[in-house]
């Protein structure tokens, strides 16, 4: 039994930020005149607040919260656009010793009844004292906000005001007390709130800053990330707040409408660090005109970290090819494996190598049948490639285990288990879920991966895995193959497993949107072609293939295909299937 470990005796590490007892102390220690947050709207409209001004706004919000009865230990839900005002409310709640939690801000198309049930579920689980919304919160949704008797609703202003500190009593927040609660996405009532202590967050930030070689003088973070997500909250709010770094941020909506502005912000503010999900590495180059790229300069960047989705070398290569001519250096594109349950990062690729993350080409048949990685030459027929998510952060341990719980050797695929000094305490108010997730101190991530040369490669979610006659089939591989058919809409394919009692094993079920509805008249031929590609690429035969018109597949709030909701929809439309997929296992 082997576990991959990266640890050092605690006394050997200089715990820079651990001189703080809590996150508020770190904010209080910041230099007042240093720029902290710049909210970028366009070149003529941007607002910068210094650490001193931010503290002032946070104190004002703390006073408002206190006037509404918020005390230490109370939960405060914040539903505001990701901007300075929301961050000030968050910090203000922490100043009172309350536990803030960001939830996603509703978009224009949210269905009121769904929003109501989602919000009611989260507030009930948190037993929130207050739900804080902004002045622009849609009136039509306000009537649908259903809160329990114990929960109040507060509209706040942006916190700007005359200078002068609002006096707050010094609060002794214990290091091991919960600092805030993270939710993964959206406002579905079934979300799990991840409770994180001040100590866990401070330790994570210490590890992260060392691994990223944070430089307090030159580093400046770029972000368009939502604050309810760990990338936005930890990497782009807590890290700079504690290490006193400037951040330049824009709204996620502005980014998705004007992806080119990411290049503009980085150029104007000489940003050095950023985090992006994998899809953004394709989205930005495909939506910026090559003729306009030359006015930008990405040479200030020293790390742009691919995080929160399985890392794809092809996506990073596309980004690099598009922007190398405007100064993007090869070693800038890096990778990480992160999750809210560990505050944020578990692994990080090695920035000192000045190279892209490690990459391995593996024999596809061996990978699927024996669940292990046998490296082959790049481009070898039937091979599949994986990009590394990097090495463990200090004081982290990792095990790859089989379904039977046996620890697997290097190169073998299994579930990723982690243990660290910044692991979460549990899901808030959900001891049942916590007990399932943390066993003997090991957090069961539900992700599948393998280790090779001390690098972690993440291959997908365990619950999504399709097992056909003992061969492990990763839905992403099926989806990628299906999407290569020009009649299929790229990114609008979902593959899943269905137990076929006649075969005694699972079979692959594919749901794919066609590019245009006219293609459906040619469905038989498309299906035949797709089957051929799957068989040729993976060596297995697909079971059922459903071709659907455009817009059929349900998407998540992040714009990706929502696997489980799409499966539910498929069940509703095809009850005769009686699908027993991995989703329900």
């Amino acid at each position: 039994m082997r576990a991959v470990t990266r640890s050092a005796p605690f006394h050997l590490l200089e715990w820079h930020v651990l001189r703080y007892h809590n996150l508020v102390e770190a904010l209080e220690a910041s230099p007042g005149d240093r720029p902290f947050l710049t909210f970028w709207v366009n070149e003529d409209d941007q607002e910068t607040v210094t650490f001193g001004e931010f503290r002032h706004r946070a104190r004002r919000q703390a006073r408002v919260l206190r006037e509404h009865g918020v005390q230490a230990g109370d939960r405060v839900i914040i539903i505001m656009p990701p901007a300075i005002a929301a961050m000030a409310v968050f910090a203000g709640a922490m100043m009172l010793g309350a536990l803030p939690a960001f939830l996603a801000y509703p978009n224009d198309r949210v269905e009121p009844s769904k929003y109501r049930s989602g919000l009611a579920g989260v507030t009930a689980n948190l037993k929130a004292k207050l739900v804080v919304i902004d002045e622009a919160f849609p009136d039509e949704l306000l009537g649908h906000v259903s809160l329990g008797n114990e929960t109040g609703l507060l509209r706040v202003q942006d916190g700007r005001g005359a200078a002068g500190d609002e006096e707050l009593p010094r609060l002794n927040v214990a290091t091991e007390s919960v600092a805030f609660i993270q939710h993964s996405a959206g406002t579905t009532g079934l979300q799990k709130g991840v409770a994180l202590t001040h100590a866990a967050v401070l330790r994570q930030l210490e590890h992260l800053s060392r691994t990223l070689q944070i430089d307090g003088v030159i580093d400046r973070i770029y972000s368009w990330l939502p604050l309810y997500h760990d990338m936005g909250l930890i990497a782009c709010f807590m890290l700079p707040m504690v290490y006193h770094l400037p951040v330049v941020m824009q709204s996620p909506l502005d980014w998705v409408m004007y992806p080119e502005t990411m290049l503009q912000v980085i150029t104007e503010h000489r940003c050095t660090l950023g985090w992006l999900p994998n899809f953004a590495f394709q989205f930005v180059p495909r939506r910026t005109r090559p003729s306009r790229r030359t006015q930008y300069d990405l040479s200030s960047l020293r790390a742009l970290v691919n995080c929160s989705e399985p890392v794809r070398s092809s996506s990073m290569q596309e980004f690099y090819d598009a922007f190398a001519p405007i100064g993007l250096k090869r070693g800038v594109l890096q990778s990480s494996y992160a999750m809210a349950e560990n505050v944020f990062a578990v692994t990080q690729s090695d920035l000192s190598q000045k190279a892209s993350p490690a990459f391995v080409c593996a024999d596809g048949r061996e990978f699927r049948s024996a669940h292990r990685v046998v490296p082959v030459e790049e481009g070898c027929p039937g091979s599949i490639s994986f990009a590394s998510s990097g090495r463990l952060l200090p004081n982290h341990q990792l095990r790859i285990v089989s379904d039977a719980g046996t620890t697997l050797d290097s190169g073998h695929v299994g579930e990723i288990l982690i243990k660290s000094d910044c692991l979460f305490d549990g899901y808030y108010n959900r001891p049942d879920l916590t007990a399932k997730a943390i066993v003997d101190g090991w957090y069961h991530t539900g992700d599948l991966g393998f280790c090779l040369n001390d690098e972690l490669y993440v291959v997908g979610r365990k619950k999504d895995l399709i097992i056909v006659g003992g061969e492990n089939i990763y839905p992403q591989d099926v989806e990628d193959i299906v999407a290569t058919n020009p009649a299929i809409h790229d990114g609008r394919v979902v593959a899943m497993g269905r137990y076929n009692p006649d075969l005694g094993t699972e079979e692959i079920v594919v749901v794919a949107e066609v590019e245009c509805e006219e293609n459906l008249t040619n469905a038989e031929e498309i299906e035949r072609e797709v089957r051929g590609r799957i068989a040729a690429g993976l060596g297995v035969t697909a079971g059922m293939i459903f071709l659907k018109p455009p817009k059929w597949i349900v998407k998540s709030t992040a714009g990706k295909a929502a696997r489980s909701t799409t499966l539910e929809k498929l069940r509703r439309e095809h009850p005769e299937l009686d699908i027993e997929s991995q989703e329900t296992a």
């Binding site: 224009d108 998705v256 409408m257 590019e515 817009k551």
Partner: protein, 83 residues
């Protein structure tokens, strides 16, 4: 309907890819879900091409692009000369 609005309708139809769909300048596109948020950037780039104006970031919300008529009204309201 102007020639530019007609061109925008043609572009939207091409993007939506529904063969029997007909839309006019007042058809709801964004709020109705016909156009998804990931396509908003493409709509803005096309609008800039057709109006020869630059639509500054932050000046436009998705609902401002809900119909073809609203797109051109928005461009007239917030558009700036292209550099």
């Amino acid at each position: 309907m102007t020639a530019e609005e007609k061109q925008m309708i043609d572009y939207v139809l091409k993007r939506i890819r529904k063969p029997n769909l007909t839309i006019d300048e007042n058809t709801s596109l964004v709020l109705s879900g016909l156009v998804d948020s990931m396509a908003l950037g493409d709509l803005l780039l096309t609008l800039e091409d057709l109006t020869h104006k630059r639509i500054p970031p932050g000046a436009v919300k998705p609902k401002d692009l809900d119909t073809v008529a609203k797109m051109f009204a928005t461009a007239a309201r917030v558009g700036k000369p292209q550099k």
